[in-house]
Symmetry: C2
Subunit: 298 residues, 2 copies
């Protein structure tokens, strides 16, 4: 499919991509660039790539597909390094979770004949780093493309087909719509998970062991999400701050309503809300986004 | 172990208990009482019990162990029905998630020679009803006992041994401490899950399908918890309203702090908090309360 693919940043997502490209034989050559030489050594040891170095400029040369898989806050720096080494006609994509800010930042910086097509694979685990990746991470997952003005139609088709070949379902979306929808389905849930875990550990030290011991009652499930990559999430919230901030306000207003209902022992209202939220689970299972296998803890 | 056990309410927990008692051969006879005759018929069909009827008074007669497994708001009514039919020396327990209110309610109503020892098995799934139960539900789960003043030492030992025989680890806890710790590890996480799902579905109808479609990014995991039994949770929040209310206030204050950090692009503060919450996950895995198997969605 490609002659040379360059992955910038071999964390969970980048290393999973390298593995998937190799497994499905989608490029003659795969290279990566990582700031840390420990990572460059590791990915070579794991035989995920043919070459890897911290010299990003050198690594991107002659690549047909370049994938930025670093935290959002590093894009400016990455682009600065690579913008003069991009092959004419190359496809440039990323895997970031927020799009509006970076799409124009990159658009302005790169040459005209580069097709800049941001991608967002809705896939991940709470693990980080090159050893946490695996080739099947994208299987049956949605990948959203938000093509920039500098995206050629044929390149959008190529990138679509690339994601499909590694198992994803692909959607094209408007960039504003993407950031809004994802703030609801992903960013706020993560922020709330971080917050509930942070709140639960701010108690007297002698009670902390009880919190851990009885965490299966619900808290446990939040700690999984709240163990996600701190740097990645710091950047996501800041990049999507307008949507995040608005949604938190709605969330707090609704939580205060629930609190009032509890204080007034308004069982009818609570019941109404809980019946409504139960329904949405069925729709998610119907849409194939989860399985109905039960989880434990109460 | 017992001659006759009576389970009042064969929902997820009650029916799992019936199955476990049968499997581990812990009673010569198992009976249940359910308000609904459809349930009474169902549990007989499923051969979980030897007898079942809506006549609770009749069902409890001559039982050595009686387990209340109905929503908390029905306890008053249940006790009213059974208090004059309790065998001298019987052990009375429940499986409710909040203890302080009901412990004295029942204590006042029952005869002196009945051992009232509330239990709280920290086990459950988001499924409800007699068909959702299974005998292994309590395996490796904590069960907390909060013995009342009307609990004989030898009966506490018997009940402990009962829970251990069906696979649980048993702890004895002060009733106030129980309600406080569980508000943090279970009640607030559930309330927040209900609230996040409720907030996410309060958007324009044409965007709802996108919310479902991309729910694997985090929201999905909350919908699982927010699909738990609405009646049960309505009662839990109201019964534990003082703790719940206080903890929501702390949660909201912390969330507002996070919101300010995002608005001010205070990356350092966000990072600090997210690194702290990541650590707690490791402790939970170390304590055997979850596995480190990764989950999906970002």
């Amino acid at each position: 499919m490609f002659k040379k693919v360059c992955i910038i940043g071999c964390g969970l997502i980048g290393s999973s991509l390298a593995r998937a490209i190799k497994k499905y034989n989608l490029s003659e050559k795969i290279v990566s660039s990582n700031r840390s030489d420990i990572v460059n050594k590791k990915v070579l040891e794991l035989k995920m790539v043919n070459d890897s170095s911290s010299d990003t400029q050198k690594m991107v040369q002659d690549s047909d597909l370049i994938i930025i898989a670093t935290p959002l806050s590093s894009y400016e720096n990455v682009i600065l390094k690579i913008k003069n080494s991009l092959k004419s006609g190359t496809i440039l994509t990323d895997v970031g979770s927020v799009k509006e800010g970076v799409i124009s930042l990159v658009e302005k910086a790169i040459p005209k004949d580069v097709s800049w097509i941001p991608s967002h694979p809705i896939a991940g685990t709470e693990e980080s780093g090159p050893e946490a990746g695996f080739s099947e991470l994208f299987k049956n997952r949605w990948c959203i493309l938000t093509p920039s003005k500098k995206a050629k139609e044929k390149d959008i088709d190529t990138l679509k087909s690339f994601w499909k070949k590694i198992g994803s379902k692909v959607d094209i979306m408007d960039v504003k719509q993407h950031d809004y929808i994802l703030s609801i389905t992903s960013h706020i849930p993560h922020l709330v998970a971080y917050n509930i875990v942070n709140t639960s550990i701010n108690i007297q030290e002698e009670k902390q062991s009880d919190i851990i011991k009885y965490s299966a009652g619900g808290l446990r499930d939040f700690t999984r999400i709240a163990a996600s990559n701190p740097i990645m999430w710091r950047d996501i919230f800041i990049q999507n701050k307008t949507n995040t901030s608005k949604e938190i306000e709605k969330f707090i207003a609704n939580l205060e309503e629930l609190k009032n209902a509890i204080e007034n022992e308004d069982g009818k209202k609570l019941e109404e809300i809980f019946i409504k939220t139960k329904k949405i689970r069925k729709e998610i299972i119907k849409a194939g986004q989860d399985v109905s296998k039960p989880d434990f803890g109460r």
